[in-house]
């Protein structure tokens, strides 16, 4: 069972897409797994022949459990072994314990543990308010009440709400965020986009969001302190940018699947992948490699008309970039006031890894990239 997110502890096998004896290539969808984030298509990380399916559909198993055995390809002989759970940079296992309880593990009172089991609440994601930071009965009941309160807006998504609650609580508990904000003049970017789109049929036209994503990915690739994971051994930079894109789901909830190697992809490719991603995510067809692998995330609430987003880092990532809406504002240009399309770009970054100075340089780099759209 692959880990499809730092806070995933188990998943339910919904359906096998392979049979014993079938030939499987790296990247083939082999199974559907139900997680707090919805049903995910699981891809094989190996080439081989399916030897045996271990887990039956409908079974919930912990992360790391063996799902199936593959026989290595004759051309590349290898011993039959469990399907590798590790894909591209595997996030560290959940380390939700607050520092005070780090040595003895998370403290959970016996009553809280029993109640959490009864209510189906993930106790690891709950912050304890009891003696020595222990999770108490009332902590569990509060967490469960929170899930229930969110339930009317998001039917059947209480698991996702739980997962978001766990992840965001962990983030605010463990990650010392710092926030920076920069207003960027988009006149050059929008002019370039208009010219670009004018000569193309509707399906090939680009959205502003693609420019944002590319600029963020490029800046992240150049400044490694923002792209990677913070694990038990500290910060580990990622070798390429898997750009998480926060996508709100109809009916409530939020996921941030990744566009892999986003810094290397031309704008039209990014546009296609973004559309594909949004369509599939909203239809409930995310791939495992997308859901678990983001190295940095972009969130854009411009559609909703907000000026500025103050985002929360998705652990174990170390940075998240927010884009507000693009609005015309008075802007001083060469000593005169002009109306310019302005977007507020925010950076929330992990102070354990970077400081405000490099954060400011990172934001400035995004601005510079957006002001040279032809080079994106």
């Amino acid at each position: 069972m692959p880990s499809l997110g730092a806070d995933m502890v188990a998943g339910t096998l919904v359906e096998w897409r392979i049979k014993p004896g079938a030939s499987v290539r790296h990247g083939d969808v082999v199974a559907l797994i139900d997680t707090e984030k919805g049903i995910i298509d699981i891809e094989s990380f190996e080439d081989g022949i399916v030897e045996k399916l271990v887990v039956q559909p409908g079974t919930r198993v912990p992360v790391g459990a063996t799902l199936a055995f593959f026989q290595g390809e004759p051309s590349a002989p290898q011993a039959a072994g469990p399907m590798q759970a590790a894909g591209p940079p595997t996030p560290a296992p959940p380390t939700a314990a607050p520092p005070a309880a780090a040595r003895g593990g998370k403290r959970i009172s016996p009553a809280a543990r029993a109640k959490a089991r009864e209510l189906g609440v993930d106790v690891q994601g709950i912050e304890g308010t009891g003696p020595q930071g222990a999770v108490t009965l009332s902590d569990v009941e509060r967490a469960a009440a929170g899930v229930r309160a969110a339930a009317p807006a998001a039917k059947d998504r209480s698991g996702m709400r739980n997962a978001i609650a766990a992840s965001m609580s962990r983030s605010k508990r463990e990650i010392p965020h710092y926030y920076l904000q920069l207003a960027v003049d988009l006149r050059a970017a929008l002019d370039w986009l208009e010219t670009f789109n004018a000569s193309r049929p509707v399906p090939e036209r680009l959205l502003t969001a693609v420019l944002f994503n590319k600029a963020a990915a490029r800046a992240a690739a150049e400044r490694p302190g923002f792209n990677g994971y913070f694990g038990p051994r500290g910060f580990e930079p990622a070798s390429s940018v898997h750009l998480g894109v926060a996508i709100a789901l109809r009916g409530g909830g939020l996921v941030a699947p990744a566009i892999l190697n986003a810094e290397q992809k031309p704008l039209p490719v990014l546009m296609r992948e973004l559309q594909d991603l949004v369509t599939r995510v909203r239809a409930g067809h995310m791939r495992g490699s997308e859901i678990a692998s983001a190295t940095i995330t972009v969130t854009s609430l411009g559609d909703e008309g907000v000026d500025i987003v103050y985002p929360i880092i998705h652990p174990p990532q170390v940075a998240i970039i927010g884009f507000g809406s693009v609005v015309e504002r008075p802007w001083a240009v060469d000593g005169r006031i002009e109306a310019r399309p302005i977007v507020n770009v925010t950076l929330a970054a992990d102070h354990r890894v970077t400081d405000g100075r490099v954060g400011a340089q990172f934001l400035a780099r995004i601005r510079d990239l957006l002001m040279q759209p032809a080079d994106l």
Binding site: P110, P131, Q132, A134, L137, S138
Partner: protein, 333 residues
């Protein structure tokens, strides 16, 4: 007493005496013996005036030999009487430990039920009156270790008066522990000696947050602590154990299952004491109900000191009880 004065204020001491008087009146087989219980009126003046009322046959001064007069009490009980033996303090009862543990507690068992020992032993226990390390200890937890004995600790006026009757009705030897800190406690007591049982604990103050288990002299410190904690919104349920052997597991666990937290206040020492037994039972029977570690407030592990400030420092205090309760409900602990 005038009719208009139907519920006068009485002391714990007077309530004990009232219980003795009622027992002596009710059953001619009942008699009292012990050191200085007659002419002197008892070392704590509990038996004052009883000699004049009931005579030397039934209020008997004894030589200074705990072993001898407890043994005589056992013999009288075996012979069909209903003796009440007073031992000055629990420290002195150690001189009669052989009679209590090897004879009183065992004879019914060893005779296959043919020789029950319906003996009642009253003794003073506890500290707080600067009587130093040989007159101030709380060994009731030791006696609660012994099968064959019943151990009770009346903490209210009603129990001080009524438990003696219940003890005399019991076919087994019963040890009644009267805390010296309570003797001068005053309160209202109904005129009639309504029978009380000695089988159950009692909730003296209901509360939803913490179960506080205590008995005897620590009850009022606990109630005072509960009042202070209530001002901060922490509702403590104060349970008066009343019977230390057997313990009323049903009531204790019922309370812990409601509050999910347990605080034990015992004037005995912590190591190997009654508080350890209570804590273990809770873990055995209500582990999955616990929402916080069990906390204990006991006497410091020293012989009870003589100087007032050191004696106070050694004993459970309202402040220590309040502090311990807070550790169960707050994060900063």
């Amino acid at each position: 007493m005038t009719p208009a004065d139907a519920t006068p204020l009485v002391t714990y001491r007077e309530a004990l005496r009232e219980g003795l008087r009622d027992a002596l009146r009710a059953d001619p087989r009942v008699f009292l013996m012990g050191e200085d219980v007659g002419r002197y009126g008892g070392c704590y003046a509990v038996t004052k005036s009883l000699l004049g009322e009931f005579g030397e046959e039934r209020i008997r001064d004894t030589p200074l030999s705990e072993s001898a007069f407890v043994g005589a009490g056992i013999g009288a009980a075996l012979g069909g009487l209903r003796p009440i033996v007073e031992i000055m303090t629990v420290n002195f009862s150690l001189l009669a430990l052989d009679q209590i543990v090897n004879n009183a507690a065992t004879l019914c068992h060893m005779s296959g039920g043919q020789c029950p020992v319906p003996l009642v032993i009253r003794m003073a226990t506890g500290a707080g009156r600067q009587l130093a390390a040989q007159h101030s200890h709380s060994f009731e937890g030791w006696y609660a270790h012994i099968p064959g004995l019943r151990i009770v600790a009346p903490a209210t006026l009603e129990d001080a008066r009524g438990m003696l009757g219940a003890a005399l009705r019991c076919p087994d030897p019963v040890l009644i522990f009267e805390h010296i800190g309570l003797l001068n406690m005053q309160g209202e007591l109904t005129a009639a000696n309504t029978p009380v049982d000695m089988d159950h604990a009692a909730v003296r103050r209901p509360g939803r947050d913490i179960t506080l288990l205590t008995y005897g002299g620590s009850l009022y410190k606990s109630l005072e602590a509960a009042t202070q904690l209530a001002a901060d919104g922490v509702e403590v349920e104060v349970v008066d154990l009343r019977t230390l052997r057997p313990l009323d597991d049903a009531l204790i666990m019922d309370s812990v299952r409601r509050t999910h937290r347990a605080l034990i206040v015992d004037e005995g020492w912590r190591s190997g004491g009654l508080s350890a037994e209570l804590g273990t039972r809770i873990v055995e029977q209500a582990f999955y109900e616990l929402d916080a570690p069990i906390a204990r407030v006991c006497t410091a592990e020293v012989p009870i000191p003589y100087p007032k400030h050191l004696e106070d420092a050694a004993l459970p205090s309202v402040e220590r009880i309040v502090a311990a309760a807070r550790t169960l409900v707050s994060r900063e602990s």
